[in-house]
Symmetry: C2
DNA sequence: GTAGGAGCTGCCGCAGCGGCAACTTCAACC
DNA sequence: GGTTGAAGTTGCCGCTGCGGCAGCTCCTAC
């Protein structure tokens, strides 16, 4: 069955103006446009709208949402990825609540002591504040983060976006190889891994151990694992295995 | 001790540009400005910044944050209010994750059945999507919501903001009466409750039972209770009791 | 025909920033 | 003293994702 725009707006909680905006930007075209020019939506559009609104609730921008939805290999797997993001964001709010609880306890303690509150580790005041981003985090590799930031500073926004798009495309190609049943040490997978290695080397010298550790971070680092698993489940481990095989056969 | 703007930006995760913006808007003035024109922040500013960033993370706008922070009766109580909001928002994300899980289960079931997915209750697709707002919610009283919307439609934005400010001020006056130890049926409290009743009556006729139900909603309705408790703990029940006493002595 | 509701397109403006240019200040070095 | 580079300033512009509105069309009921 189908619904006119006012019905979809009512049931979803967004305005009709927003739905038209999403149509204009190509993010959510209606199922059909009647002879009267009115937009009509069906089940498939509702499901897509759900995904859009979940990702909006997580702070993802519209162009990025378009990329994520275009990259999905399977609808159920995409929803599983969103589910994981929601749980990760929920955990962040928990961490933020803990941060606030700690501040409360410290303020109460300083009142009991009758002393002004002193802050030994001011960074602790802000744990959990920054929202999790659907982006890579090289926090565990400061030299790479530094080199990546310097490199990004020399790019204009179009180049930065193209670079991010290429990164996503690489992950998608890897997912396709995985779903085609190729083992992580198969030649096409290793060719993709080689391209990834070369992109890193352009930034900064990469030892075998460094690259291996980066591979492990694909599974161990929350932001990285979330990014990979959002494409398709199992991709993070596949990427780690691909890097492990690459290091073993080509770097050592 | 104090910190220059770059240090505060580093430890908090916001940009120096944002901190200057907050100073310009009056939201977070620095502790002092040096002879060199540089901004320096102390512990008190860090604590205030924490509150600002928590509320930003919850989607609260800057003018509203200013009002909330101006309305706090006690810093620890304010933080307790933020803590409750964080937990409420965390629960909303949980609900949203449940919504996504349900969609996954339905999609998987329709695949098992080999049938296209049908949506009986499309509203269910969007449960938990809309963020909780720090605002009153008259959802349980549709006639009042309708009348309030019509009234707001005749106001320009300055008037709407003044109206919201007066509402917050009323809640603060009530909190002051409560912390001064006056019982809910004391004359000054009943005078405030009378003003609230009159403001409602201007919108729409209010029966005794209606007003009593609104009083109960101060405790039962999550958005309302959060708003009241953010001012000071116990205020929601105090407001309910004040309305109960008012209805008993003046409306019946 | 009229009135009112639903929906359209196109335009403008907002909130909360991020980025940048041009400038000042400061410290270290020669 | 001059130079250099880092840190910080103000003021301006532009971005994203909308919300609001004007002027219009279409449809239904009377």
């Amino acid at each position: 069955m189908d619904w006119p725009i006012s019905e979809v707006a009512r049931m979803s909680g967004v305005t009709a103006r927003t739905l038209r905006h999403y149509d204009e930007t190509g993010l959510l075209p209606p199922a059909r446009v009647g002879a009267n020019g009115h937009r009509y939506y069906e089940e498939h559009q509702l499901l897509r709208l759900q995904q859009i609104l979940v990702l909006r609730a997580l702070g993802v921008g519209l162009p990025e949402i378009d990329r994520i939805l275009a990259a999905r290999v399977d609808e159920v797997d995409a929803l599983r990825g969103h589910h994981r993001r929601l749980l990760a964001e929920r955990d962040r709010l928990d961490a933020l609540a803990d941060t606030v609880s700690r501040t409360i306890a410290e303020l109460e303690q300083s009142r009991k002591d009758g002393t002004p509150m002193t802050i030994n580790r001011p960074e602790n005041l802000f744990e959990g504040i920054q929202p999790s981003q659907y982006e890579d985090s090289l926090r565990d590799f400061p030299e790479f983060a530094e080199a990546a930031n310097q490199r990004a500073a020399t790019m204009d926004p179009t180049e930065v976006e193209a670079s991010q798009r290429e990164r996503t495309a690489q992950m998608i190609r890897l997912a396709e190889l995985m779903t085609a049943g190729l083992p992580a040490d198969a030649e096409p997978v290793q060719a993709e891994t080689d391209a990834q290695y070369r992109a890193l080397v352009e930034l900064h010298a990469v030892s075998a151990e460094d690259f291996r550790a980066i591979g492990r971070s694909c599974v161990d680092n929350d932001a990285w694992r979330t990014a990979y698993e959002a494409i398709t489940p199992g991709l993070a481990a596949y990427q780690r295995d691909a890097i492990e095989a690459y290091v073993t056969t080509r770097l050592t």
